[in-house]
């Protein structure tokens, strides 16, 4: 008695966190700080960078290609998030209320497991104007062929569609997990009260799913802004600049033109924009408090 000293886990706690902290410092914090520094210089990768102050940022704000890329990205995000989220909610709702087959759930994840570059190549062939299967079908039923990646009006919807195809299953699974947290008794009482499935979905599932939905929206919005690989594989930003999304813009500035400083400035700017978006979204959807509490 009295011999037991209160053990302080904090010290050993740091030890366990250390590997992650070191990784975070080396691979995230340090590069991010360097990136901010580069954004204030005229770094070209070769040669020593010299300080140019806010020069890159003022150039950036006056760069029409930059704003065009931001707009193009926003267009993509709207197309992709809208279609993907609506589809995912429907699929998750069906899984939740109709079947809980593990095989089905696993199947839904399949497109998400395929690497993006493979998906890009796969759809590039499927959607090709001359040799693609989709255009073959369109032609066979008497509709004209569509240059999905070469028509300026179609290129972005096509890319958004491809990524919706790839990510709907994953998003649906996240939402499905959220739906499982909703207490079963609510559904039972609703059924006793004679509510139909659509009404149950609108009055119980959706409102109680809100915190999870908010998180999923934030995560997929950020992911959606980072669209790059599908563009890099299929259209390379074209036709003209119809699909030159912001990440592709940054990539070109950095690794094709070697304007490292300028590219870093664009990246920092994008990080700020994403931060504001995330903050606003979380506040608007009151993500941290659930109606269940």
């Amino acid at each position: 008695m009295g011999q037991l000293r209160q053990r302080d886990d904090r010290r050993v706690g740091w030890l366990f966190v250390a590997p992650v902290l070191v990784g975070f410092a080396v691979f995230y914090a340090y590069p991010a700080a360097r990136g901010v520094w580069y954004s204030l210089t005229d770094y070209t990768m070769l040669g020593t960078p010299s300080f140019v102050g806010a020069g890159n940022y003022t150039d950036l704000l006056a760069d029409r290609q930059f704003w065009s890329s931001m707009l193009v990205t926003a267009y993509y995000v709207v197309l992709n998030i809208a279609s993907q989220t609506v589809l995912a909610i429907v699929v998750a709702g069906l899984m939740h209320r109709l079947t809980r087959s593990v095989v089905l759930r696993a199947t839904l994840l399949l497109p998400w497991l395929v690497p993006n570059v493979t998906i890009g190549l796969l759809w590039m062939w499927l959607l090709d104007t001359n040799l693609g299967f989709v255009n073959h079908l369109l032609h066979a039923v008497g509709l004209g062929t569509v240059g999905f990646f070469t028509d300026a009006n179609w290129a972005m919807p096509a890319i958004a569609g491809i990524n919706t195809w790839a990510y709907t299953g994953y998003t649906a699974l996240l939402l499905y997990a959220g739906m499982l947290q909703i207490p079963q008794h609510l559904y039972e009482s609703a059924a006793i009260d004679g509510a139909g499935e659509l009404r149950i979905f609108a009055r119980i599932t959706l409102p109680l799913l809100r915190p999870v939905l908010a998180l999923v929206l934030v995560v997929s919005l950020i992911g959606s802004f980072q669209i790059f690989d599908t563009v890099a594989v299929t259209t390379k930003g074209g036709p003209v600049s119809a699909t030159r999304v912001i990440y592709f813009f940054i990539y070109q500035q950095a690794f094709s033109y070697f304007h490292m400083g300028y590219a870093a400035a664009a990246a920092v700017f994008l990080a700020l924009v994403l931060g504001v978006f995330t903050f606003a979204q979380l506040r608007l959807l009151r993500a941290s408090n659930s109606d269940l509490a």
Binding site: L15, L46, T129, G144, G147, T150, T235, G238, V240, F258
Partner: protein, 448 residues
């Protein structure tokens, strides 16, 4: 607490060691035996240059050359990153439109002193190639090969349309009515009912095989299409080549050329850009979706491969208002300015630029070596394989028949700006003259 500190410190040291460990490992130079890193992008040529490296090693037992091949799509990014990291190859294959940025940033060794000392004969190379890599009395590489452009066509298809190989030998072209070149393209275009482009009943909305496949992802040079025709119409890219500072993409002669391509599309002889395939033209030609297109001599072994399902042949480019003009381009070998083995690297570059190596490469019939005699060897090697590639050589040798692609700073940005302008003109978002004028202003502003 102390233990934790030491563990943390140990972890840090470990990761730091891992970080620094990868930078300083190039210490093989002092003991006599030297290994040179050499980079190239074309996998078709790797075997030939490996043979050169072996021959070089036999002659210089102290020096081993290690070849690394990286695909074209990643080549320049990898090279630049490696240069920035101080870990770049000692010698790399260089290309005319990409090398200026490395010269500007002092990454390539000036070899003029070595050339003078060892009295390298620069006249042994195909005319003009050596000067592509010279600036203000300094020299940044020795020529290794060259390529020219020609027409490639599906022989069976053209025969079926009554177009003989002889008729393709002397085609003419002008931007107004397209000359006999356009007549051939029209005849080679076939709709789904089998009517060709000259038939009054020809249905341009249901084309089965297009007479001509244009290339629109062709940067600022149009090497695979519009560039050659525009130059044969009297267009010139740059005030001074190499190393000019004022482009003239606003020249009406270029706009007229682009307008002619648009007229081909309007007539249904070529696919519209917004209905075009994203696949490469050789894949489309092989799928019989097109009959004729431009091809560079580096494509010879793809089109004339023994297992190709469609039989192709080459024909000379059409003669324009100021003659027949083909882009000629040549690669060189550059020495890393930061290499620890300058003398050995020069020895290797000199060997690559000598008949000893270029005869080996020529004998394999993959590219045309820069040394004239070795170029003839390549021609013979192609003939031995049953490949008729005479047109590429004839065009290269024709007096006044070639032009060099523009070489200047800001090459990558200009490429994107001009390609965007050409595409927006072809898509009809803007007329050719306006789009090109705007692009030209943007391009020239880069030099201010």
């Amino acid at each position: 607490m102390k233990r934790i500190m030491t563990t943390g410190a140990a972890l840090l040291t470990l990761s730091l060691a891992a970080l620094t460990g990868c930078t300083s490992s190039d210490g093989s130079g002092s003991g006599g035996a030297v290994t040179l890193d050499y980079w190239l992008w074309d996998d078709n040529q790797k075997a030939s240059y490996q043979a050169c490296a072996d021959a070089f090693h036999t002659a210089n037992p102290d020096i081993t050359v290690k070849l690394t091949q990286t695909a074209w799509a990643q080549y320049w990014q990898n090279l630049t990153t490696q240069l920035a990291a101080g870990d770049a190859p000692d010698v790399w294959t260089d290309q005319a439109s990409y090398y200026p940025q490395f010269v500007t940033s002092n990454q390539i060794l000036d070899i003029q002193p070595f050339v003078d000392r060892d009295k390298v004969d620069l006249t042994q190379y195909q005319a003009g190639l050596a000067d592509l890599y010279a600036k203000d009395g300094k020299r940044y590489g020795l020529p290794k090969d060259w390529d020219t452009m020609a027409l490639v066509y599906n022989t069976t298809h053209l025969q079926a349309q009554g177009i003989t190989a002889a008729a393709l030998k002397n085609l003419t072209w002008n931007p107004t009515d397209g000359g006999s070149f356009e007549q051939v393209i029209a005849k080679a275009t076939v709709d789904e009912k089998g009517r060709n482009g000259l038939d009054p009943a020809f249905d341009k909305s249901k084309v089965k095989t297009y007479g001509f496949l244009p290339e629109w992802a062709d940067g600022s040079q149009g090497q695979n299409g519009w560039g050659n025709l525009a130059v044969s119409n009297g267009f010139g890219f740059l005030d001074k080549n190499p190393w000019g500072t004022k482009y003239s993409y606003d020249d009406p002669k270029l706009a007229a050329t682009i307008d002619w391509f648009k007229s081909l599309i309007a007539k249904g002889y070529a696919p519209a850009l917004d209905k075009a395939s994203t696949l490469s033209r050789d894949a489309l030609l092989a799928a019989r979706k097109g009959a004729i297109t431009f091809a560079g001599s580096w494509m010879i072994n793809s089109y004339l491969a023994p297992d190709a399902k469609v039989k192709f042949a080459f024909a000379p480019l059409p003669t324009g208002p100021v003659g027949r003009k083909t882009a000629i381009n040549g690669l060189s070998d550059a020495i890393n300015a930061g290499t620890e083995h300058k003398e050995e690297a020069w020895k290797w570059v000199k060997f690559l630029g000598s008949a000893d190596c270029q005869n080996i490469v020529g004998g394999n019939g993959v590219v045309f070596p820069a040394i004239k005699a070795a170029g003839d060897k390549a021609l013979a090697a192609h003939q031995a394989k049953g490949q008729d590639v005479q047109v590429f050589v004839d065009e290269a040798k024709a007096p006044g028949g070639t032009f060099f692609l523009p070489i200047s700073e800001h090459g990558n940005e200009i490429s994107q700006v001009v390609q965007d302008a050409v595409q927006s003109a072809v898509l009809g978002q803007s007329d050719s003259a306006t789009a090109l004028k705007k692009a030209n202003d943007q391009v020239n502003a880069l030099f201010k």
